[in-house]
Amino acid sequence: CKKTLVEAPKSTLTPAFFTTTQGFQAGLTAAYAGFRTIWGPDTYFEMTVPGTDEFIAGNDGNNGLVKYNSNFNTADGIVAGIWKNCYTYINTCNGLIDNAPSGLDAATKASLIGEAKFLRANYYFILVQFWGDVTLNKSFQATPTTSATRAPMADVYTFIIQDLKDAIAALPTGPLTNGVQPGRATKAAAEHMLAKVYLTRAGSSAKQADDYKNAYTNAIDLITNVAPGAGLKLQQDFGKVFAEGNETNSEILWTVQHTTTLAYNGSATQNNSGPDNLLCHLFVPKYEVQPGMQRSTLYGRPYIRVVPTHWLTDTVFKERVNDQRYNKTFQTMWLCNNAASIPNWPNPLPAGAPAGAQPGAPKYTVGDTAIWMPGYAMTSSQIAGYRYQVIPPGKYSIALSPAMIKYFDTKRPDQNSPSSRPIIIYRLAETYLIAAEALYMDGRATDAVSYINAVRERAAYPSGNVVAMDITADKLSLDFILDERSRELCGELVRWLDLVRTGKLLERVKLHNTDGKSNIKPFHVLRPIPQTQIDATITGTPYPQNPGW
């Protein structure tokens, strides 16, 4: 009888499994998988891309968080989701680090723990940048708790930095090092991140005197020592960095993985939920309702969450002769793919109609240009000379503007499917920009120039004048560095954090962001503590909210 009442689960795993060698591997896999719900869905994207000088809300965009209006409050689900996700997987990492099984050989164990620490550092880095003082769980939470306190930002940074130092000491050199699987943590990624952490702490109230120095020391070590040894270098062609099929290129330090084996790609049903990679949809404008167009896998699914600001397309990317990045970042031309909606020439023909226009005949055929955004102003009589739709910058709208193409995935199984492309989190070009920013902020503008020029020179490939891309130290400023980061990194889920780090969020939103300029207030540099956290902290001291919320 006693035996009858003993439980033996067969289809579920219990935490005891976590302390076995297999369990450790499975836990580590899960700790990696947690990043799929950060880089990929539209949540972390909304927190970093729009609401900045680069992007505003598109036609189907967010009407709260990214506009800093009163719809954005402590109940915001986007903010709450990222917060919860980080703490869930921090606990996974804590469990790995605390309970590493003894059955592993020392080197393997150290390396695996190094991976876990790298991942934990990333989760904490997200938390500390968005929320400031946050709860610091250093060890596995084995018992349920309904209380929580916030640790000073300084403690969180110290913890992150120690994790990264441990990781650097234990991890294999780089993603291209023999035996390292794509997506795994490496020393190169950890060093890049450590540089960025120092740089970010330097811009915070927890700053230490040698933060900038530590930032560029690590960045420069990566660029000059670690990367060459690990086969890492900038791609010759800026356009190749994001090219489909080139996801494991020499510039990439760390990615969140996805796969064409759909059962392992993201959500079980591939329905653009949970851990799916939606970045392919989010920048796509409503081209499909335009004459001659319909939705296609090639041009993507128009989620139209964001459109670029005029400042981004017209000012930052103004120079397009030597700097080739504009045309490699934005799609400005759509070819007709729908015979049914091709417009006919009216009768009589409008003034200035192009030669060959026949009243009543179709203006163009499938495969011809249907939409073109020249990127410069044109008069209406100039426009009248085109058979197809011409949209100069003055006509950009929240429904139809140049489309940022870095995440486009033309090989999805159907036009609504999420992407199966890995997402780049850290890449070497940013290491150069981190080095430049840290050097400049530490008063070493002259030394900074070479790092920023390295990125700029590459941008000239293939037809630009490399020398013309170079700048001199007197041109260098924090604003220039931020502008350069836009040209290089726009849309790469870093901008909001860049602006907060450099103290430029309010200034630049007020200048360039038509959504948020009249709403943004100083307290917006921190995200609100999610109401779910405050409501659920029912014992101990109430969980403090950030000021102003």
């Binding site: 499975a26 209006n69 719809n71 109940a75 703490y87 596995f140 759909l262």
Partner: protein
């Protein structure tokens, strides 16, 4: 000849009552008597070997005033000194004769009940002692004065007095009197006379269960029993949907508040749909701790005792019942038509693009892509599509049940077969059930009886998740399902930004296939051995095996896949339960007045379930459907296994003193596998006492107060209704890849909780059963107070805990207080044939539940929706005070609260909430408890009138008060976003010139209108006519011709009316009835059925 049956029996020194009980149990022969008459007589010990029953009875009655009479299916015992008061017969042969006067006429007739001719009914002349008994054909003949009054009486039926009035033929239909005190009702592990019951038990008879022809007993039981709250689960009304049943409110917050269902004595683990309601002959609901305690942990939420039909001694009985009818939607969801939607969309764009449009008439709307080309064409031609009209059809329902039953002295049997088929109100939804039931009872020798009962069902549920409404309600009414040029079905509907797929696509045969095939057997067997006088051992064994196979296939062009890859999913579940019980009972009457009944039990229950699920996509051919994953891609699977056991010991003592004072003591010990070692076992005691007040001499002759019993009980039951393995913690799996290396990971999402223990509910129940005016008004009142402690609660932790899933803990306390009143009244006493009859029964339940304590002394747990002093399911939200108007005052006020008043995020025209704490800003601390779904009171009523063979029955249920949540009205439903991307609920929304103060403005920039949850709370009051049935008993002239004993035809309208519902009347909702919240779901239906009941 029953009285010639040879009987072997021994009597101890016991009461006559107990001797008769013994005879009844041992022989299976039914004795009919008034227990009053047996009182005070005792029996001397004696043994009989193979003696005729008549001799034994003569021995027993030798020194009494009692005698007996054999009728077709039993023995009637009566007082030969005859009394009309008891309504029992005196016979010419046994009573003192009175001289027949020459003026007397001979009166003949047939006495019957709804099932046909009724033998054994006593027919006596009022004021005299002369009388006869109806023969096996129900006929009688006697001589009486032309102006005399005949009294027809029989145990179990209401006594009727009929004036002869010179008639020579008087046919009488007896009306059953199911509240008769001597009726036995089923209690846990046995049966008891109603007068001996000490606990709170409601008994629902067969007739009440038949009033609502339905696929499962839950639907039929709605509104029939006080304290039993039955509602559509989540408002769900697709074929095969089962309702949620709640007995005496929410106690536990954890998954299950569902009562235990016990079928023919053994716990039943299947779904309500696995029982054919036609097989059920009675249903008892155990409510208080004393009644439920014997089921220990499984009885914590109340118990439904279901009895199915078994064979009786006597001739063969063949019954057929059947009905057929149709279903229609109770109404259409109130959404916009083309022109209304056009305006909404335009207003949305105007508000979402400040300054871009000049007004509703701005021509740019028609050229800038705001509307799809087809929508523009519709606007120009005035075309509007009513998508709901296109998807609804008339559903069909039919049910047939054929039964054969009968038996001899030694063997009784019943066999029945049933078929139920219901199709939904849209294509692809149906529920079909085949059922076969068999029961056999066999006497082996003198002391052993064995029996077997087997309930078997095979059901097919199609389209249990089929719900094209989500798409049909969202689709633009300016779009059409067919391409304007080709006439073909379109995929995405125009204007939906490729979000809404043509709902008609799912109706293409083979495009959307979803079937659940479920086979199940619930087979129980018993063996009963008489060990010694009064001492009996019984073994009960029951096994339930249910394979369940589910499959779905959705082609690419369906609302499920929106043109993406076709998908298929298979699930197979095998569940298996068994129960073994050893029961010892001892029944004895000491010194004639002390009746003791002891029941001891040892039982083992085990339940196992195993299931596998796999899914895949890109199926090579539509014809393959879900049958072969080899022709699909991206196969993924999952599985589950669970097993639980309960080991129990139970003892119960019933003690009765002179039928006046009754006491029940119960003790049960349960060991549950689901708890951690150290917490597995617990003992649950209970006690109950009752006083039959009307047994006291001073009331014995009272006609006004014909019955009064006072009861009180107290006891504790426990609940382990938690899933197995919850104490062990859990990891959740997640897939990931490193390049081409695909891995499965696992991470902790739940922590071990070895301290998890039972949840206890203690109930104090006080009740009174009463009857007035010779039983014309009967009823019961119950008052109860339940305290639940160590509440099992799924607790959501702060995200910083690192535990994302809610964990189960013992936290807090709740209480439920309530009053339940049931009344039955014979308003007009008649037989329904030649005299008019009208009966009414009604019940009302008041329940007040609240959380009284939470862990660590906190008074609110917002995350888990728990507030001390408030009911479980409290609604905690902002307080809506209207709409921010475009006035200077409102703008200034909004600004002062920190709200945005310009741009797309402007609050002007959106829902205005109150700054409850007056801190000068709108923040989370302005949320308050708005109410809860707990009604003020609920209940039901049945009115039955009959005349000239016609009967008309109306069953109603009502619910007053309580806030319901209709998620239709929240933006998350996608049909009330006010964004203009999808069609919207047809409301008079705010515009700069329409300053209405309830519905907000449309805004294309806002996916959800802010605070949309505040649009979804409604007063849940309603009165629903559940059914109205008109029936007719075919006259004998017709039944004779087809050789039937009885034949009734009827027509029923189900859910014809919903009255007094603000949700329906003011807000144009469809049906306010829901356990949980209302969603975009199959609309509720009304149905009309026609049926017959026939006995051969």
């Amino acid at each position: 000849q029953i009285s010639a049956t040879l009987v072997k029996i021994s009597f101890g020194k016991e009461s006559l009552q107990s001797s008769i009980n013994k005879l009844e149990k041992q022989t299976g022969i039914k004795f009919s008597y008034n227990p009053e008459d047996l009182k005070g007589y005792s029996v001397k010990p004696n043994k009989f070997k193979e003696e005729k029953l008549s001799s034994i009875l003569n021995y027993l009655f030798a020194k009494t005033q009692l005698t007996f009479k054999e009728i077709s299916d039993g023995i009637v015992i009566y007082d030969k000194t005859a009394t009309l008061k008891t309504g029992l017969l005196t016979d010419k042969s046994s009573g003192p004769d009175i001289k027949t006067e020459s003026a007397d006429i001979t009166v003949t007739g047939i006495v019957s009940d709804i099932n046909g001719p009724l033998p054994g009914v006593s027919v006596v002349i009022d004021g005299g002692t002369k009388g006869v008994i109806t023969n096996t054909n129900g006929s009688y003949s006697l001589k009486a004065a032309p102006d005399a009054v005949l009294i027809f009486s029989s145990i179990g039926y209401k006594t009727q007095k009929i004036n002869i009035n010179n008639q020579t033929v008087i046919n009488v239909t007896m009306v059953s009197d199911l509240r008769s005190l001597s009726d036995v009702i089923v209690v846990g592990y046995g049966v008891q006379k109603k007068s001996d019951i000490t606990g709170a038990i409601v008994s629902v008879n067969e007739q009440a269960l038949r009033d609502i022809p339905a696929s499962n007993i839950g639907q039929a039981l709605q509104g029939q029993a006080a304290g039993v709250d039955i509602q559509k689960s989540g408002g769900n009304s697709h074929p095969g949907a089962t309702p949620s049943i709640l007995i005496r409110g929410n106690r536990s917050i954890n998954a299950s508040n569902a009562p235990l269902i016990v079928v023919d004595g053994l716990p039943f683990n299947g779904s309500l749909n696995d029982i054919n309601p036609d097989d059920i002959v009675s249903l008892e609901v155990l409510k208080d701790a004393s009644s439920t305690a014997i089921y220990g942990s499984r009885g914590a939420n109340g118990v439904l005792l279901v009895s199915t039909r078994r064979g009786k001694k006597g001739g063969t009985n063949i019954t057929y019942s059947g009905y057929a009818g149709f279903n229609k939607p109770l109404g259409n969801y109130n959404i916009m038509n083309g022109p209304q939607f056009e305006d909404l969309k335009k207003w949305g764009l105007i508000n979402g693009n400040p300054g871009k449009y000049s007004g509703l008439d701005d021509p740019a709307f028609l050229t800038d892509g705001s509307f799809a080309p087809q929508e523009v064409a519709s606007i120009k031609s005035g075309r509007s599509t009513d998508w709901q009209k296109l998807i609804y059809k008339t559903g069909f329902v039919t049910d047939h049940q054929l039964g054969v039953s009968g038996g001899t002295d030694l063997t009784q049997y019943a066999i029945s077969g049933g078929y139920y088929n219901e199709t939904g109100i849209y294509f692809g939804q149906s529920f079909v059930r085949y059922s076969i039931k068999l029961s056999i009872d066999q006497q082996l020798g003198k002391n052993v009886k064995i029996g077997l009962s087997s309930l078997n069902t095979l059901s097919y549920t199609n389209g249990e998740n089929a719900n094209p409404l989500g798409q049909a309600l969202r689709a633009s009414p300016l779009s059409t399902p067919y391409d304007d040029a080709t006439g073909q079905l379109v995929g995405f509907t125009a204007g939906s930004a490729n979000q809404v797929w043509n709902p008609l696509a799912n109706f293409v045969p083979g495009a959307a296939v979803e079937t659940r095939k479920r086979f199940g057997t619930f087979t129980t067997a018993y063996a009963e051995v008489n060990l010694a006088p009064g001492l009996k051992y019984r073994f009960n064994g029951g096994a339930e095996i249910r394979p369940d196979i589910y499959g779905n296939y959705y082609a690419s062009a369906t609302t499920n896949n929106l043109g993406g890859a076709s998908t298929a999913n298979n699930q197979s579940t095998y569940s298996y339960n068994y129960t073994l019980e050893n029961i010892l009972t001892y029944d004895r009457t000491i010194a004639q007045k002390h009746h003791i009944n002891f029941t001891g039990l040892y039982s083992l229950q085990e339940s196992q379930s195993q299931s596998n699920s796999f899914s895949y996509n890109n199926i090579l051919s539509d014809g393959i459907q879900y049958f072969n994953p080899q022709y699909g891609a991206n196969l993924s699977g999952s599985g589950s296994y669970s097993k639980w056991d309960i080991i129990s010991y139970m003892a119960r003592v019933n003690y009765g003193f002179a039928n006046k004072y009754l006491l029940t003591l119960t003790m049960r010990s349960d060991g549950s596998s689901r708890l951690a070692p150290g917490n597995k076992y617990h003992v649950f005691p209970s006690a109950a006492a009752a006083w039959n007040v009307t047994q006291e001499p001073m009331f014995k002759d009272s006609h006004v107060l014909s019955n009064l019993k006072l009861r009180v009980s107290y006891g504790t039951v426990g609940n382990t209704a938690i899933n197995p393995y919850q104490t062990l913690g859990a990891l959740t799996s997640v897939n990931y890849n490193f390049g081409s290396t695909n891995l499965t990971g696992a991470y902790p999402t739940n922590v071990p909780n070895p301290n998890l223990t039972w949840e206890y509910t203690s109930t104090l129940n006080a009740g009174a059963d009463f009857g007035f005016l010779d039983g014309r008004i009967t009823g019961a009142v119950e008052a109860y107070h339940q305290y639940t402690r160590s509440l099992l609660l799924p607790l959501s932790l702060p995200p910083t805990s690192g535990i994302p899933n809610s964990i189960l803990t013992n936290v807090g306390q709740t209480q439920n207080k309530g009053i339940e009143i049931s009344l039955a009244s014979v308003n007009i006493q008649g037989n329904g044939r030649n005299s008019f009859s009208w009966t009414t029964s009604a019940n009302i339940t008041f329940n007040r539940g609240k959380v009284t304590k939470l862990a660590s002394g906190v008074t609110q747990d917002i995350t888990n929706g728990l507030f001390v002093g408030q009911p479980i399911n409290a609604i905690f939200d902002y307080k809506k005070v209207g709409i921010w108007q475009n006035t200077a005052a409102d703008t200034a006020q909004a600004k002062s609260l920190g709200l945005t008043t310009t741009g797309t995020g402007s609050v002007i025209g959106t829902i205005r909430v109150e700054d409850v704490n007056k801190d000068g800003k709108i923040s989370a601390s302005d949320r308050i408890v708005l109410g809860s779904d707990q009604p003020k009171y609920t209940g039901g009523f049945t009115n039955r009138i009959a005349y000239k063979g016609f009967d008309f029955t109306v069953v109603g249920v009502y619910r007053v008060g309580g806030l319901i949540t209709s998620k239709l009205f929240q933006s998350g439903s996608f049909i009330n976003t006010f964004q203009g991307n999808y069609n919207n609920i047809n409301e008079d929304y705010w515009t700069p010139t329409n300053h209405q103060n309830f519905y907000p403005k449309p805004n294309s920039a806002s996916t959800n209108t802010p605070y949309s949850s505040l649009l979804s709370y409604f007063d849940g009051t309603f009165l629903k006519i559940r059914s109205a049935t008109l029936g007719y008993y075919m006259p004998e002239s017709i039944t004779k011709r087809i050789k039937a004993r009885s034949l009734r035809i009827y027509a029923t309208a189900q859910n014809p009316f919903i009255l007094f519902s603000p949700y329906r009347n003011t807000f144009h909702g469809l049906d306010p009835e829901t356990a949980g919240s209302l969603n975009v779901d199959t609309p509720p239906t009304k149905s009309f059925t026609f049926g017959i009941n026939m006995t051969l």
